[in-house]
Structure formats: structure tokens, C-alpha cells
Amino acid sequence: MAKKKNTSEFPKWNYAPAPESTSHIQLKDRYDLYIGGKWVKPLSKKYFKTINPANEKTLAQVAYANEKDVDKAVKAARKAYDEVWSKMEPSERAKYMYRIARLMQERAREFAVIESLDAGKVIRESRDVDVPLACNHFFYYAGWADKLEYAFPNRKVSPIGVAGQIIPWNFPLLMAAWKIAPALAAGNTVVLKPAETTPLTALKLAEVIHDAGLPDGVVNIVTGYGDTGAAIVNHPDVDKIAFTGSTNVGKIIQKAIAGTGKKATLELGGKSANIIMDDAPLDEAVEGIVNGIFFNQGHVCCAGSRLFVQEGVADKVIEKLKHRMDSLIVGDPLDKNTDIGAINSREQLGMIHKYIEIGRKEGATMYQSNCELPSSGYYCAPTLFTNVAQSSIIVQEEIFGPVLTIQTFRTTDEVIQKANNTPYGLAAGVWTDKGSRIFNVTTKLRAGVVWANTYNQFDPASPFGGYKESGFGREGGLHGLSAYVKQNEYGTVRSVENV
């Protein structure tokens, strides 16, 4: 019989490009403000552009709302609150919310692609995390709308009024859902401002809200920069401020509303500890480290940016981590195989570079993955620093990028002390095979969310929020709902109307 040679010469196997199609998305060249159920031109007459951080191309022009525009939006929200939304049967409110959730699901692909274009986040995450979670928040809170008496037993529950909501650029659609859904469920109306670098999915959400037939003025979307946000915060007819963003801006808001009677929830920065004990499932812990700090390019307020590894396994974990980092694919956010996408803006990239420089000057040892970065757009290789101290600036300050610091520890008490030794307290992670250790450590960590043997898991039913400079108030779950209701005891003199 004829013989054939065993040929085993193949070139290096690389994935072919697999870009998600953009042909199905509809983007206008220019977006106006969504106020009172209509798209209206800004009184400021000004527009600004929003770009794709992966290639710096302009995606659309977006209205720049000034004080007068914000005033118009607040008036529309007040009118809708007084005349329609606060008086509507709660079960009817729920129907609108379910409708919004379903329409979002139907357009999930379009939302995901636009989110990736505008924010630089990888399509795998916007498709599998951001958009489904955003839909789920509407579904979840729609369920509560007609059950508020059960959510808060023995309380007379009523809405607060007009909520001014200001959201960040790291999870644009998801944050909009986190803010809008509980507000609507409880009977409030909303003026929401998305971040200036990522306004598009909030504007698409306005289209969905419009298509769902939500009464005019219940949700108003105003786009702009920090001064637009300030106009919302300072508007006298706004009853509640919900803000997610930097601790600095949170402090400014806190000062601005002091004495005004406005309620507030602030979800601010973090420098969360991710703790690896020596008995942990190390390979899964390494995945958890990667997911903790490189998820969404590290633009995550609860990112596990301070890694603590127990001495005996530190070398092993760091070696494994470097090896894993080298396999991460950095590049086009729209490619289905990309693990790490583009940094959200030039400004943020500059900030990250500044901190990397500080780290080097502090004498820390840097490792960056050996990936190739695209020649245009804003990109940063996954980075880690060893030989850092509790007093290093890169250990203390929030970098909000794919930069990890690694410290080692010997005893459990030591790591708890170090983990809590920060002005922040948003999240933490603990990795160990031992159940009793999990309970011991997690109960002593002063952080709003503590994950055990996982990291960066989110669910609409689970509250999220911080200790100390990471803010106050909770979003998600019943706690998130309570921020949007007034609760009065039955039989008290103070009636709801007088409050």
C-alpha cells in the first residue's frame, strides 16, 4: 500500500479577525436632548462630538445642555411626576417597565455594538454582561413596582419626586438602568445625564423609552459636561441626586446640596483588595485576579486593584499571573476574540500613564504583558507592579485602568488590617478553600461588597455600594429601591403630603 508522510508542519495558529458587524445599528449624525417625551434642540445651541476611543473617529454630535436646558428637563419631569407618574396605579408603572426591558432585549445586539463603539469596551463584555444586566435591572425593579408595601412592611411608602441622576462612562447603559429602573418603580421621575464621552446608549435608551410609550417627561435625558451635571445638582426643584463617579466630584456634590434637603446616594471610587490565601484554588484565583483588574480595562470602581497574596504562594501566583496576562488579547473592542479593549478617553489614558510613571519613580517593579497594541486609538497593556508598599501612591490612589499592585502578607490579621487601611471601601475579594476562613475574613473587611472565590459578579437583586470615601447609599436589590422612596410609619402625624 502507498505510504504517506505524517505531515505536521503548520504555521503558528492565530485567530482570524472576527469583528462584530456594525451594519445593523442605527446612529444619527446628531442627537438632541430628550425632554418631555420629545427630541428638542438645546437652548445652548451647542453640540459636542463623541468619538470611538479605538480609532478616534467621530461617532455623532451630541447636544450640550446648559442651565436653561436642564431647567426645562426638570420642569418636564416635575409635570410628569405631579400629573401622571406618581398617581398612576403601580401595576401600570410595572407594565411600562417590563415593556422597556423587553424592547431593550430585542435590541440587545444594537445596544452592545454601540456601547463598544462609544466606550471602547470589548463586545464580549457589552454583549454578555452590560446589556443583559441592564435589561435585568428593569425586569427586577418592574417586579417591585406594585409590591412596595411588601418591600417595606409596616411603612406608608411614597415616591420622592424628581431624581437628578448623573452617571459615569465605564458602564454607560448599565448605570443608566441602575439609576432609572428603581426610580421609576417607586413612582419618581428622572432627569439623567450620561457622561460626555459615552452618551450614545443612554440616547438609544431614550428611543426605547419613547417606543415603549412611557408618558412624556417621566424620563428626560440631557447630555453635556460637568457643568450640565452641576446644573442638575443645583436645581432647586430636584428632590434627589444619584451620582456615580469620582470621589472628588462626589465631595463637590455633597457640599452643593448641604442644607438643601435634597436626598443623595453617591457611588464613588475604590481601591479594592483582592486577597489570595495559600490554600486557595490558585489557577481560578489567577482568573479572578485577571477578571478583578482587567475587566472593562480596569475602568471599574470596584476593581480588585490591590492584590494581596500570602507569602508561601506569592512567587507561584505572580508567575502564573504573568503567564496568563501574556495570553490576553488586547485590541479592537468589536472583535469577538478581544479580551481587553480601548481605554475610554485620551484623558483617562493620560491619567493611567501618569500613575505608571509614578509607580516607576517610586521604585516599584513593573511587568507589562507582551501583547501588541494597535497603532491608533487609546490602549494600555495590562500592567502589574510588585515591590510596592502600603504607602506607595499607586497602592493608595485609584488608577481606574488595567494596573495592578501586588503585596504579600503572612497572617490573616495582617492582611485584614492592610486591606482596610484605605480611605475607600467599595469591594473586596477573598480566595481560600476553607469555609471558616471565608467567614472570618469577609466579616472583618470594611467594604460594601465582598466576594469569596470569585470577583466582579453582579446581580440586580444584590445591593452595591461603599464604605467611607467610596460613597453612601446602595444600588440594586431592596436597598436600591429604598433610596427612591419615602417611608412613613402608619399613624404618625407627618403625612406623606406634608413632608
Binding site: 504517506k4 505524517n6 495558529w13 484554588p281
Partner: protein
Amino acid sequence: MTKRNNPITLPDFSKSTRVDKVGVEERVSRFQKRSIKGEAKLQGLKMALNMIDLTTLEGKDSPGKVRQMCFKAQHLHDVHPGLPTVAAVCVYPSMVGIAKKEVAGSGVKVASVSAAFPAGQAPIDVKIRDTRFAVDEGADEIDMVISRGKYLAGEYNFVFDEIATIKEASGNARLKVILETGELVTLDDVRRASDIAMYAGADFIKTSTGKIQPAATMQVTYTMLQAIRDFRLETGIKVGMKPAGGISSAKLALHNLVMVKEVLGNEWLTNDGFRFGASSLANDLLMQIMKVETGIYQSSDYFAID
């Protein structure tokens, strides 16, 4: 990956790295979401073909059946030029002589199962004799089973010594150690048994005999690949991986290649580093290759069954 530990010091196997099943499932689902298209897909399919250990391990195996399989190993689908051969044929020791003659000069290796395959329930001298017979008949590779009974009883030293003994009996033949992960059950044990096998001298570690379900799940293969990666980091030695049993679709084969690439790197993506123990996989790969090349799905009747 760097060589660190020479000479090799034996670790305490009772302290093998723990494995978290939930985390493993999460990671595996990421591999399954990789999009493999166009040229990458075609190359992947061909590489997978070239990594197959074409296998027949039945009581009713006949010289005729083995000869046919050996022919197919070298002529997968000759109507389409440019296809590789498979890596090896895998048979019982009694068929090694026949297979060796059929594939001589082709580069296709002959692998023989050994050590009282599939259950491993025989004394060590029988297992040595079993192995020597296969080697003497011309086996290039020995696929031994471990004593799962001893392993599950916690007798790790026994398992280690047995593997080391068979390694010696295998001489120059490449030793693949079958863990039969379906009987070890937990991923912690898959990981520990992998460590034991590699430190005892395995050239390859292999999931299953094909006689027990579940066999080569991606979770199990992933756990073993992690062990291989760590062994390389620790000792500088490259050990190969062979999932066997249950991989019958081209899609699953590509997912496995993705997993090898991302856990171990391209260095393992040849049949020196990775094998599929399978009998029906080859035809699905061929069918997909023809689909990619011609745009048309052909019926299974156009591909020879053995």
C-alpha cells in the same frame, strides 16, 4: 516558560493545588466563545486531524479491522489532496505487530494500551509483561492506565511507583498515562493524579480509556492543562496532553485547541504536545474541511467509516 528546578524535587502530592469547579466552568465557557473563522478554522481543522490517535479498542477487533484502520490513518480522504495523516493508531497489544507493519515508513505511530487496560486490576508483574510485550511488538507509544482503586484509597505512592515502573518497562516508547478521570470524579483529584503522573515520568497525560463516562470533558482537560503548565514552569519539562473519549465533533476539537493555545501556548499545538483519542472525530473534521474548502456539506456517505 523557564526551567527552574533541576534536579527535580518531588512535591507533597496531598498538597496539590486545589481546583474550584465553578471557576473552571467559567473559564471553559470563555474558550467556547472564541470565534474561529476562515483560515484559522481551516488550519485548526487540519491540525486537529494531524493530532488524532485513531483508535480501536474492542474485544472483537480483528486483524482485518486493524489493517483497514491503519490504511485510513494514512489516507484520510485522498480525493482531497493536501490533508495530513493522523498522528497514530491506538490498539491492544495483540494488534501492535499487525499495525506496525501496516504503517511502517509513513510516520504514523503505533500506540498500544497497556498495564491491564482498561481497569488496571492486575499485579505489577503482569503489567510489566503487558508493556514489554507491546514494546517488543514495535509499539512507539504506551497508553497505560493507573490503578484507580489504589489512588482512591489514598495510596499515592503506590500509583507513583507503578507509573515509574511502567515508564522503565516502556524503554524508548513514549508513555501516556491514562488517569480515567470519570472514576476520579473531582477536579481536585484530576489535578493531583496529573501531578503524580508527570513527576513519575509520564510523557503525556491522558483523560480516559473511553470505557467510562464522563470522559474528556473540557473541564477535565482544562484542569490537566493547568497541571502541565505548572509542571513546565516548575521543571522545564514539556508533557503532552491527550483527551480521549467523547470528542466527536470538529467544533469541540477546535474548542480544545483554543484551550491548549491559551493555557500552554502554540508550542503545544503539534502532535508532540497534544493528541485526540478518538475514532469518529476524523470524519467530522473531514466533513468540515470539505465544507470550508468547497462551501458544500457532503453527506457522511462520502467519507470512509474506517
